[in-house]
């Protein structure tokens, strides 16, 4: 991925930025099909350092937008509609998110049926190789607090603002939320 700057340059700028701006966000996109676990670990190391500086880390799972060269390149690859883990930018507002998982309420299920039936129109909702490419990376990011993790105490409320894109305040439906599981398990 060519962004026009190096990771070292990003670190330098972020370090300067936290001394200037009251709040600094850093977006880290992950889940590229060509991204190895070693690549992710390199990103993770920097995310830890940047988080310690006070920068808010906003991880974003790759979303295959239809007009991108990447999508055009891999559009014929096996893709999976896996609503348990939507890319952040693909969330529509009808999902219930809790503990890192996403569930769909019955009244909104037709929307997602529509999406699932039209992968070429809504490729952003689909993944490439969830089992080997997405979930292992997701769990690693979970481990370091960049995504919610079931069973881990999460601090929420107006007094807290911190590092992580996923920060739902969950309503009563939360109890029924399932966590993203291995796609093969059903």
């Amino acid at each position: 991925v060519t962004k026009g700057f190096t990771a070292e340059q990003a670190l330098e700028v972020l370090s300067e930025a936290v001394g200037i701006f009251p709040s600094v966000d850093a977006f880290y996109m992950w889940g590229f099909p060509f991204e190895s676990m070693a690549d992710l670990q390199e990103s993770l190391l920097q995310m830890l350092v940047v988080r310690a500086m006070g920068v808010r880390i906003l991880p974003s799972l790759l979303s295959l937008l239809p007009q991108t060269a990447l999508y055009q390149e891999i559009r014929d690859a096996v893709q999976l509609f896996f609503p348990g883990l939507f890319p952040e930018y693909m969330l529509t507002g009808h999902e219930v998110c809790a503990d890192g998982g996403v569930t769909i309420a019955d009244e909104h299920r037709p929307i997602y049926d529509f999406i699932r039936d039209n992968p070429r129109v809504f490729p952003g909702f689909f993944h490439v190789d969830v089992k080997h490419n997405v979930l292992p990376k997701y769990r690693l990011l979970q481990q370091f607090g960049f995504y919610p993790k079931p069973g881990r105490k999460e601090l929420t409320g107006s007094e807290i603002e911190c590092c992580g894109a996923h920060s739902p305040e969950v309503g009563s439906v939360a109890a029924s939320v399932a966590h993203p599981a291995d796609p093969d398990s059903g």
Binding site: M53, Q67, T92, E95, V96, A165, S167
Partner: protein, 411 residues
Amino acid sequence: MGRMLAGPRAVESTGLDDFWQQKFMPSRKGTNWINVLKTLVCYRLIDPGSEWRLHRHWFDQSAMGDLLDEDMRIADLDKLLAHKTELQSAALPRTLSPSTAAWYLHSMSAKEEPSGSTTIVGGRPMRRAVEVSDLPQGVERILTLAALNQRFRTDLLRDPIAAAQSQGIVLDAVESSLLRAARPEQLAAMADRIVIPRSSDRRAFVKTVSASIVAMVTGKAIMLCSGCTGMDTWRRDAATPLGSDTGNADAGPVQQWMDLNGYTCYLYLPTAVAANPTLGHDVMAALHAMLASTSSARAGAPSIVRSVPSPPSGDAGHSFAAPAPSSMRLPGCTTRVALGCSCSRMNTSFPRQGACGKCVPPSGRAGSRSSGKRSDESISLTGAQWRPWRAPGALSCAMVSSQDVIAFWRE
């Protein structure tokens, strides 16, 4: 171009244009809202991106304006969102179901529910944090320590795993893997850049985490002041003078807090330091004394409002006698003092006893702001002395640091 021609037609075919036409008449300024809607539909379907990009780039670069004979750069979605519920229940004809139309409308916006919703749509709610004790902290700890300690930094670059072990820092398997894979120059850059965040209540949690990590790693106590750091919200009951939350003493530093001159000050004591019942009090007492000294020099300056419940001997009531600046060391206080400031370079400047470029040293000689380097000659480790320090600007902070304590507060 064909897609752009088709987009507005698609809107018309769903009946959405009729729906919205009843809601919004063209504004006094001439904004035709149905054309705003058509633009958004086309943008979302043809070349989705941010609203900023739509207004600043896509609209100008596309034929949309010509097709609609509009200048939409002032368009705002907020007026549409007020009718979302109505839209959901409307009997829209033809292609789109109401729920799909509602989905479409919602997907256009990142503004409707910035937080407190059951989803993370659009604007990315921010109110979430994980207790630091629940996360692997080895990487942050060794890099923070490397920023504070030149010798450890050298060890770290040579063998990060052995360096961590030498300090009793436990790394989990992933952390070890991360550090083994990192190049020495990467680690060096990270150690150079890692900082304790500056004052901002938006980053209170991270600030607290950083402070507690430094306390754990370095064996130093760290005091943070709400006036500087915005940490009032870390403990809702922080107004209690000198409260404490010992938690699991083996797991991390002890947090104490007190009200100092109207600011809630937090003191993080590593376990070993907390085991000494006098040290924390000494530190606080010394801070009181220093504040009293600086306050007395200014007419109308606020006085100390509370002191520790068990002040050291020599204390008279709830205030402390202000010793001379050259000997502001209270009886029994083992704190040694260096001078610094609370800028973002704080913890990298500290171990070298330097000021960052934003500081004006006591002599009045400015630091090297342009280079951002420490101006070692402008500041000195004063051993057992307290020396007041004043940085320019509204956030006038002093940092007192030593082997025992790092502190900063608003004068």
